[in-house]
């Protein structure tokens, strides 16, 4: 099997497209809606890249959810990172998307051009190289992300701990996906009929992680990869479940997702981290939706090491990213979209990140203004 071609097979796509159309007609007959939220930012990008939204029947709506880690990171966190970056004794290590995210007043990129030492990493382990290269500096890794990113960062932490490395700490803002699904489903303003569940997050947490949620809310949860044919196959499965009123967790990414997830990753998470109520940019506090370092590991916490507290920031009040993240507003319906807010001059995080909904809409389907 040639992985690269088979999941992009036009005949398969065409077949599934027809099935989706038939199922959508059946839904109309049953007077049912199909508001499907794709939770993950990589799904949003893939849906844009392969123009899947455009080919769906009118009554099947894809709503982009809060699954871009950069987008949901509070502006107060960005402010804290900027404060650290301005110290002479600190090197900030971060994934590239973070450097253009606006905090309350400025961005890390602007700090960097002002002389702050900020290094872009492709992997958390790049921090190890920085630690050796700058032994007299404190390296602070901006540890944001969902379960997918949390696990490798904890892999780094276990090395730091084992090797007793003194000049690396983490500024954490880890988030969990299942509590976000819970919060979105409970929001009376939203009317979500099903979730297309993330691929990589599910590799870590396992398909069983969605079972309590589905049992409680009776909403289909289908795990799909980021390949076009498989995304369409996932949507087809969701529509089937909606037509037959048989909501369940369906794992369509079996080549990587196990029912129990990744034992090694989960072991690291439960060793180092504890659950707390995290603040999501534009959404607010969601109960039990974040994980932070346990007290016994707080010496690796940058906030502890540099003795400050993370405070909520003041994002631009005109920015509607919160509504976009909750799926209440289409990016293109935001008054700032593609006008005041664009990738060159992003006002909100959804336009910055390569996984952000606004960036995806801008890149793949922006209409002329």
């Amino acid at each position: 099997m040639k992985y690269i071609d088979d999941y992009k097979n036009p005949e398969a796509a065409s077949y599934i497209r027809k099935q989706i159309k038939l199922l959508a007609e059946e839904l109309t007959k049953q007077n049912k809606t199909a508001n499907i939220m794709e939770v993950c930012g990589s799904h949003t990008m893939a849906i844009g890249r392969f123009a899947i939204r455009e080919l769906l029947p009118e009554n099947v709506k894809l709503i982009s959810g809060p699954g871009c880690p950069v987008c949901v990171t509070d502006s107060g966190y960005v402010d804290a990172a900027i404060q650290l970056a301005e110290r002479n004794d600190v090197v900030i290590a971060t994934f590239g998307d973070m450097i253009n995210v606006p905090g309350s007043n400025t961005t890390l990129a602007k700090c960097r051009s002002g002389g702050a030492h900020i290094e872009v990493c492709h992997s958390p382990t790049n921090t190890m190289e920085l630690s050796k290269k700058y032994p007299d500096k404190q390296i602070v890794f901006l540890a944001i992300g969902f379960e997918t990113t949390t696990a490798p960062v904890l892999g780094l932490l276990s090395i730091i701990e084992k090797q007793n490395i003194k000049n690396i700490s983490l500024l954490t803002a880890f988030k969990l996906v299942p509590p976000a699904l819970e919060a979105l489903t409970s929001d009376p303003e939203l009317n979500i009929d099903a979730f297309l569940c993330p691929a990589h997050v599910s590799v870590i947490i396992g398909s069983n992680a969605y079972k309590p949620f589905v049992k409680k809310h009776k909403i289909p949860c289908v795990i799909a990869s980021f390949e076009p044919v498989e995304i369409m196959f996932g949507l087809m499965e969701i529509l089937k479940q909606l037509v037959n009123s048989t909501p369940e967790v369906k794992n369509q990414y079996k080549r990587f997702v196990n029912p129990a997830g990744s034992p090694k990753a989960l072991e690291l998470i439960s060793k180092y981290l504890e659950i707390y109520d995290a603040s999501w940019r534009g959404i607010g506090y969601i109960p039990n939706s974040g994980v932070k370092l346990k007290k016994e590991y707080s010496k690796f916490d940058a906030a502890e090491r540099f003795n400050f507290e993370l405070k909520p920031g003041k994002p631009n009040p005109a920015c509607r990213c919160g509504d976009v993240l909750k799926g209440k507003l289409l990016p293109s319906a935001c008054p700032l979209f593609a006008k005041a807010c664009n990738p060159l001059n992003p006002i909100g995080p959804c336009m910055v990140s390569s996984e952000g909904s606004c960036a995806a809409y801008y890149k793949y389907s922006r209409t002329k203004h």
């Binding site: 497209r17 890249r49 455009e54 080919l55 076009p228 890149k363 793949y364 389907s365």
Partner: protein
């Protein structure tokens, strides 16, 4: 001779002349360069002249499928060719970093000699400078070239009309992906190889249909997406491409998936895009496909009347925008 470049190699003294004699004149001294004049005296071409220049700062200097020497010749040869010119003469400016292994310089100069011969272009003037360690990255090259305009080409992007056909001369994005893979240390079987090559023969073929050819360009930095968006932004024309028709080599396809980079945004260094009357496209395609450089040429789409929109029909059957990245996706690939 010492085995690395020293500051004195650029100082105009004995070491300088030794370097020029042993490395430059020995390779390029069979024409006007022989007596190292300050400027080359060249015959006057009968038609208009085409003049172009380009600088090369690629890192790494040597990559799968070629080295900076190929790029330095092909880059300028192709710029002249797609402007409808027959490349004739080339200048060669070298900026060398102190400490560069002479062996690397020799490899690159050998490539330049061989490539220039293949392209039938003469190196007629040049210059060599040496800068201190850390002031450049190994070596930079500048070439400028003069060509003679081919008659009867009618190139003007404002003449593109809806329904015109888009042709590419081969697989796209190979150069950028080969350099990226080399730089990131990605080693895979059948990985991407740079497509660095001259497109002049393809231009010569297209010249037979000169009146019907509206536009030619070698899609270097920014790739096909940048070229098409540039046309769309300056005319009243849009484009629609079909993703299944766009030729991609398996190596480039894989690497672009791994890095999440759209090959439409990635540079080629030996391909050309041609836009022509729809009735002529098949004739050019047929002739192109009979040549080694055009073997994998394809019709990839057509011009539309939806101004400013460059769209792609994807494998799912949906259609989306082909955008250009905000910044440079892959720095220092040429």
């Amino acid at each position: 001779m010492t085995n690395t470049i020293q500051i004195a190699h650029g100082g105009g003294g004995r070491l300088s002349s030794q370097l020029i004699d042993e490395e430059i004149v020995s390779r390029f001294g069979d024409g006007p360069l022989k007596s190292l004049p300050d400027a080359a005296l060249l015959p006057n071409p009968s038609n208009k002249i085409v003049f172009s220049t380009d600088s090369f700062v690629v890192q790494p200097l040597i990559f799968p499928g070629g080295d900076i020497g190929n790029l330095a010749v092909h880059g300028t040869v192709n710029d002249i060719s797609v402007a409808g010119g027959k490349p004739l003469w080339l200048s060669l400016g070298l900026i060398l970093e102190e400490g560069l292994p002479i062996e690397t310089l020799q490899v690159v100069l050998d490539t330049i000699k061989k490539t220039a011969e293949e392209c039938n272009i003469k190196i007629v003037t040049g210059d060599t400078k040496v800068v201190g360690k850390g002031q450049c990255d190994g070596m930079y090259i500048n070439t400028a070239g003069i060509g003679e305009a081919l008659e009867n080409f009618n190139l003007d992007k404002n003449k593109i009309i809806p329904g015109d056909t888009l042709l590419v001369s081969g697989t796209i994005g190979d150069h950028g992906m080969a350099v990226l893979a080399a730089r990131e240390g990605v080693k895979i079987e059948n990985g991407p190889e740079s497509d660095t090559a001259s497109v002049y023969k393809l231009v010569e073929i297209a010249h037979e249909f000169g009146e019907d050819v509206r536009f030619m360009r070698d899609p270097t930095r920014g790739g096909l997406a940048a070229v098409l968006n540039e046309i769309a932004s300056k005319t009243k024309i849009g484009f629609k491409l079909e993703s299944n028709s766009i030729p991609l080599s398996p190596g480039t396809d894989s690497i672009s998936e791994i890095f999440g980079i759209d090959p439409l945004n990635v540079a080629c260094e030996g391909r050309m895009l041609l836009i022509c009357n729809c009735n002529t496209a098949d004739k050019i395609l047929k002739k192109w496909k009979q040549t080694p450089e055009g073997r994998e040429a394809a019709v990839i789409g057509n011009a539309t009347s939806t101004a400013e929109r460059v769209e792609l029909l994807t494998v799912t059957g949906g259609s989306r925008l082909i955008d250009v990245p905000q910044g440079e996706l892959l720095p220092r690939i040429c």
